[in-house]
Symmetry: C2
């Protein structure tokens, strides 16, 4: 409070008028600055901040520095928080990228909103099938293509620009705003749990609400997200010969690790997509009639979705079952195999050590520790039946719980008002099949109310080729955040 007061006095002495809140002025400001906002996104996308590739760690750290610099430039109280090290598969110990925090305002009479975001990205290579350079933001028909554009660089920038707009117009921020921006989200927010726990009584002490904009709408209609799935990511490694062999010279002499691996992978999932690991389905919360009714009301066009992802047929032929299996049932995906031949052309190799990567999305009331045991026991059991001379290792690399909240609290009501103000429609209430590891961590460790306020489009292609965010979603999203900060300031204390 004191600081704000002093500032106001200083500004007044300098002849700078503190302007009263005007939503129109703020949205005008956004419209007038959209080219700058696109340029800022271009700069951020150009940094290959891929957290899953250790060779890109310097780029990732550079990305954190760019965020820090931007927030310092806005006169925030900025810190680079060290979150320790990680141990790689080969035993090397490397530093995790710093987490950037920034504080704008500390008025005790205002609510305090903590904005969480991340600026690391999934891998992307032109050879994967991108039609543009993934690290060179390219605008086509109002869409801004680039890796990380929607997940999560534009939303983080939109939050920064929202705060900046208030400051630039000399409007008082209606709430105190804190930023917590990390660089390890795509690999499971390694190191953040410890930070959140250690900061519970420091950085988080005066935080009232946590907002996360790391997801997307379900259709063209704006949405509020009230649940996410967790994720258990596994490595299953079969090791045989001490090095790769020649399929002609040695083929017939050894049980090949690849055939063992394919044999055990095939035991995970049925042809119709059901998880075959004993016990996994037992923990899943009952699918209630009430829930089905909520799903029936969701504005989701199956044909639009089917055609946007380009499959011939979806796994379920009705909206309720489909949404349920994307949002509230576990699924298993086999992502690929490390160590086998994966290049172009023909190589006649017997790979010596092959590691399958697969993951199981978690829903209430699954427990990653239990899933880890179920998967490990199951795979070892199937492998044992094969009587193979090779060795199997199963390891859970990531284990993140799901998150679910109540959409009738004051925070979601503020979110609904903000959406209404900017888009003139009620938001959809949706769940999200993806995982935002930190949501559950925030909930468990801080006990604060959390809201997910997405601005990404339903067809943004997160983690895929040709990821994009539309200029519309980026700019209107910035306005939504401006509006949301104002609406939160009207929440009455209990």
């Amino acid at each position: 409070m004191k600081c704000v007061f002093v500032c106001v006095v200083v500004l007044a002495m300098l002849g700078v008028r503190v302007q009263a809140f005007s939503f129109n002025d703020l949205t005008d400001y956004v419209d007038k600055h959209q080219e700058e906002y696109v340029e800022a996104l271009r700069d951020w996308v150009s940094i290959e901040s891929d957290s899953s590739d250790i060779t890109k760690r310097a780029e990732l750290q550079r990305m954190m520095g760019v965020v820090e610099e931007k927030l310092r430039g806005m006169k925030g109280n900025v810190s680079m928080m060290d979150i320790g090290t990680e141990t790689l598969e080969d035993g090397r110990v490397v530093a995790l990228p710093s987490v950037v925090t920034a504080v704008f305002g500390d008025d005790e009479n205002k609510h305090t909103v903590c904005v969480y975001g991340h600026v690391d990205v999934q891998p992307a290579r032109r050879e994967d099938g991108w039609t543009t350079d993934p690290y060179n933001l390219t605008e086509i028909n109002g869409n801004l293509y680039g890796r990380g554009a929607s997940d999560n660089k534009a939303p983080v920038l939109a939050w920064i620009h929202a705060v900046e707009a208030y400051t630039a117009l000399n409007m008082e921020l209606p709430v105190n705003v804190k930023f917590l921006i990390e660089g390890m989200e795509e690999t499971g927010s390694n190191g953040l749990d410890v930070l959140v726990e250690s900061q519970r009584d420091a950085f988080f002490f005066d935080v009232d609400y946590i907002v996360i904009s790391d997801c997307g709408w379900q259709s063209t209609r704006p949405a509020l997200t009230y649940g996410t799935r967790g994720n258990c990511y596994f490595y299953a490694q079969v090791e045989g010969p001490k090095q790769d062999l020649h399929s002609g010279v040695d083929g017939g002499a050894v049980i090949e690790p690849m055939s063992d691996l394919i044999g055990i992978l095939n035991s995970l999932i049925s042809a119709s997509g059901q998880i075959l690991i004993p016990g996994v389905a037992d923990a899943v919360a009952d699918f209630t009639e009430e829930e089905k009714k909520i799903y029936e009301k969701v504005d989701f066009d199956m044909e639009t979705y089917r055609s946007s992802i380009g499959v011939e047929r979806l796994m379920y032929d009705n909206k309720v079952d489909l949404l349920a299996h994307m949002w509230r049932f576990p699924t298993i995906s086999i992502h690929g195999i490390e160590g086998a031949f994966c290049g172009f052309g023909t190589k006649t190799v017997i790979p010596a050590k092959v590691t399958a990567k697969f993951s199981i999305r978690q829903v209430p009331n699954m427990n990653p520790a239990v899933v880890e045991k179920q998967v490990t026991d199951h795979l070892h059991g199937v492998f044992q039946q094969r009587k193979s001379p090779n060795k199997l290792k199963v390891k859970m690399i990531i284990g993140v719980k799901p998150w679910l909240t109540d959409t009738k609290n004051a925070l979601y009501e503020a979110g609904k008002r903000a959406v209404k103000k900017v888009f003139s429609v009620e938001p959809e209430l949706i769940r999200e099949g993806g995982t935002i590891p930190i949501a559950r961590t925030f909930q468990d460790m801080t006990g604060k109310d959390i809201i997910m306020l997405p601005i990404g489009g339903f067809d943004d292609g997160l983690h895929s080729q040709n990821e994009k965010i539309s200029r519309y979603n980026y700019m209107e999203g910035t306005k939504l955040f401006i509006s949301f900060l104002h609406e939160v300031s009207h929440i009455k204390n209990n």
Copy 2:
């Protein structure tokens, strides 16, 4: 004959004495020049002539040029033979690397030996687990490590040095020697069939014997090889969404191509390594008692082999069954999957289009055209049962027949004498599990006698990490070739 006579006269006029054959002088010459020979191999290994990678095509063409230059320097009658183009998967049409031919001598009273070799290599990357740079020849304890060292660059150089030794010592070559060196062996000798057919009455017209040194011994004892397996290489591609999806956002909505692919791959092979494709085993020639007796006599230590490849247990517990399954039964190897995630780290992707690469080694009396239909029908049958909305394409990329010959003919007797002369032991008579596509082509198209005269060690790691040839095998191999040319000159015409 005329040319040699003129040469002798000219050399005599120049005061250059034509020396009489002296095996000791020739082997002394080899011993004195071994550092030069190693340097030549270093130069050749440094060229990344990977025929399976289209981006390396210029390097491969450069390699062919180096071979041409070397043979021209030896005053051979050298040609670069154009073998046309290939059409890549993406529709591009590219030139195949030229085939180098060279002729040394055309004395009608001498036999003519055609030496076949290749200078293309399998892919190799340090990340695959090489402990040295695969393209920088590195000597450790008498072994020369590098991609292509044993397969097939050192053997080709040894043949060149064998001819060169005669010339350097002014000794008359005991036979006419022709070289045929190609650059597409590792991907199925694309384009060579057509060349051989077109040259049947030209380059091959006066050829009596064809010698191939593109294989290895079975133990530390020198060997002659009398059979090779063929190979049918397949791509099985499952295609679903139009691009990769996010396993969180979209997981549960689609039947994933990876699970379909793993399901059909698992139908190819049993846990104990048996091929499960109906019909494939039917064509295999009966395993006779006589054959078993030959295998019993082979100097092959199962424990040495087991420990050299580093597996806990071999597929068969007795020598005869093991050799039979490496040499004269078909085997199937799954090499890897293109299009799935194969890098380090964790990527939560649903790959949209995945292509498995696998191959089936061919033995008498299998027919690649029949195998192609059996595999295609089988996979489509299994896929159909899955009722998947995805699309399956099966394609045979390479289809090479096996080769088998008689070890009691005059050519093999010459080979036996040559081995005895250099190594003071009788050679082992072995088969080879790998494929040398051109052997069968030569046999079918030219009708000439063929011998396989290997100089590679049993533990050279062809197609694997840390491929090597020992200095011993390289140098003694050169002497073997010198001796062989001499012994062939003693074969009596029928």
